[in-house]
Subunit: 437 residues, 2 copies
């Protein structure tokens, strides 16, 4: 068995209490379904696995996160289904299916040309000036990370990422068999002093960062840190991967520039996605990079799955061109702004002393630190029993840290549900004798 499978077993996910609708639940169902393999028959597939497949690991905290549905669901990566522009989406798909180039299965591993053009235009609003020849469409930001790992990093080479940081990046670069090193995050974002120390000590192949809305803390990288980061990239000739996953969602304050804006030396690779601003059912994201890197990515991309679903690409192009996408973003920004306010108010009202959290300037989640000495994993189980789900903080760390943290996503719940969910969570924290099992 691989380590990942061990993790699943240890997390109890191979028992019947798992729910549907999540990755791990699906794995668990697959591993114990009616067609489950009699070990006496057929191959022992585990013995045939490639080294790189054994390198793919799902954090135990994510496995633990894959429980059944919860009444108060603060788990990350969600959007508000009720806010989706369903009528606009239906129209966009209908229009897409009227395109003769689409019906003739136009092929382009860099993406559907009208979508690449629409993305380049939309990025202007983000202050990014680029032509469609610098844009490649991918199957969401995760796919961009996977391609970058495959194309730029040899097994054993070092990739640096923020700690805490987006677990999807850790999984993608882990699958590329890279050596992952963490660099700390504080109120100004990625700690460039720590990064400088790492760069002096060893060769680094890529630095992964989320400057506009640090994942998971919600911190915005300060102008000073941005300058320092770019200067370090120059000095050590290290490409920077800027994951701008949630920049559409910003709540007051001056707009946060993209690192790409300030990147005269073209060492920033920019990732954006429609899976957050719209919804995760649509697997479309985009990468902005120098054309000579893009077509190298395109070769690997063609080898792996040729191109992103063209019907969806064409529908998104239509959604962008008609203005429906922008209207949708304006609408959910208001919806999420109210939910963010409700969450922050509920936290202030209910959380016991010693709990702290960061007011996020953007995104759709709040990073919370429990009072010192709290048992995070035990709280997670108790909360689940009380109908409250969230993402465990240790999912965002490469090492054993993060047990005292949690991420609360406010996208999916109404303000009244947010209030009740936080009240329940705080009550568990305030239990006499703490909340340990």
């Amino acid at each position: 068995m691989t380590q990942a499978y061990h993790g699943l077993t240890e997390a109890g996910l191979l028992h019947s209490r798992v729910g549907r609708g999540t990755f791990v639940a699906a794995l668990a169902a697959g591993a114990q379904g009616p067609g489950a393999v009699d070990p006496a028959r057929g191959f022992a597939w585990g013995g045939l696995l490639a080294r790189r497949a054994r390198a793919v690991r799902l954090p135990a905290a994510l496995a633990a996160d894959a429980l059944a549905s919860a009444a108060y669901d603060f788990r990350g990566g969600q959007v508000d289904p009720a806010s989706l522009p369903v009528a606009d989406l239906k129209r966009a798909f209908r229009v897409a299916l009227e395109s003769s180039a689409l019906l003739a299965s136009h092929r382009d591993p860099l993406g559907w040309p009208p979508l690449r053009e629409a993305v380049a235009r939309a990025l202007l609003a983000r202050g990014i000036r680029c032509g469609p020849e610098q844009v490649a469409i991918v199957n969401g930001a995760q796919h961009g990370l996977d391609l970058l790992g495959r194309v730029l990093v040899d097994p054993g080479e070092t990739v640096v990422m923020e700690q805490p940081g987006y677990f999807g990046a850790a999984i993608a670069f882990g699958a590329a068999e890279t050596h992952l090193l963490g660099v700390g995050v504080d109120a100004e974002g990625l700690r460039t002093d720590e990064l400088a120390r790492i760069l002096r000590a060893r060769r680094v192949k890529l630095v992964f960062t989320t400057p506009a809305v640090q994942s998971p803390t919600g911190v915005v990288m300060s102008p000073r840190r941005r300058r320092e980061l770019l200067a370090l990239a120059d000095e050590y000739q290290v490409p920077i991967v800027e994951d701008d996953y949630d920049s559409e969602l910003r709540y007051g304050g001056p707009p946060v520039p993209s690192l790409l804006n300030e990147d005269a030396a073209r060492r920033v690779i920019y990732l954006g996605t429609f899976t957050k601003a719209l919804f995760g059912a649509i697997r479309v994201g985009y990468m902005v990079a120098p054309p000579d890197l893009l077509w190298r990515l395109a070769l690997t991309r063609w080898a792996s799955d040729m191109q992103t679903d063209l019907v969806t690409q064409a529908a998104l192009a239509e959604l962008l061109e008609s203005g429906a996408f922008e209207r949708h973003v304006r609408r959910v920004r208001m919806v999420y702004s109210a939910r963010r306010t409700a969450l922050l108010a509920a936290l202030a009202r209910h959380m016991p002393e010693g709990t702290s959290w960061i007011q996020p300037a953007g995104g759709n989640a709040v990073w919370l630190t429990l009072p010192a000495g709290s048992d995070g994993p035990a709280l997670h189980d108790r909360a689940a029993a009380a109908g409250v789900a969230y993402t465990r903080g240790d999912a965002f760390f490469l090492d054993a840290a993060g047990a005292g943290n949690l991420q609360l996503c406010f996208a999916r719940l109404e303000p009244s549900q947010i209030e009740e969910g936080i009240r329940r969570l705080a009550a568990l924290l305030a239990l006499p004798g703490g909340f340990d099992a």
Copy 2:
């Protein structure tokens, strides 16, 4: 520069004569667009490439195939856009966007459950009995090959494939840095005597085959060869990858069973796709494999792009469940049957002595062998100038073979266009002094 780039340059594809709508053309456009990089600025990305990225190679013959549109387009991998069930597709996407589970961005790297169930049901018609827990949805068959290469084959390990054989498999397994070995094909399909010799001599990690409609020859694997192939897989404990890409298109003769039917020992991994029977704009295929292998594939799949576009998956599930997909397959089978007849008649009428071809029992292409001593590459250029495009035979070989072969796809042209295209091609072959430049 990588070898692939060398190939593009040598093929003249970085000049302005390239057209749109093809992979290589897109690459070429990217490499010379207005945003093209000044080498004095930024990184020399080529120096940063991982070894596995340098292993991705596009056959020169495919590069040559990427010319501008042609009046008589026999290039492979196409379907008839005029036969597409556009109204049914529009309805299916509309219905998909009404699913609340979809709008809530249901997550499952093995695929949308209703589609996995519909695929399992549809496979019954192919004689395959499997449950949805044995089905994983992927982004087309190419993606299935990529995942198998990543999960099952370490760099330097050996994969055996038919020669001639599907170039997409060579590209995917090449990207996995595997050692590719060819095994011959004759009128009964894959030559099991050659495979036995290879298996005696070295350890083989996977055997790739297209038994129902051999790609590109169209030959059907005989029952005797099937038995021998499965016996060899048992004896040497080698998994078989069965790419059943075009089994929906069959023109008379008894149905060809799937290898999976006869696979008591579960050593066959089955790949099917909607990109051929429907169209390539939809990047959805499926894999049938033992659940313990499937969830290992799912881990790598999640790390790479989480899941296949859910809107498209749900639309396909609706298309299958409503019967619209089956109606479409019945309709195109008739359309393509008439085009196949027209192509075979035109070849018989026009081709000079010494030309031979195989009557395909299925699929949508004919494999042709030019008279001995013919200069295939020169003919390809002359044909392009005469408005006739096809896929060069050497695209299907790992070595320098195939210059005397070509693949003619009959899916996209009306019978009258087929007649005229073949007349033009034959006229070039019959030119005094041959057709060498």
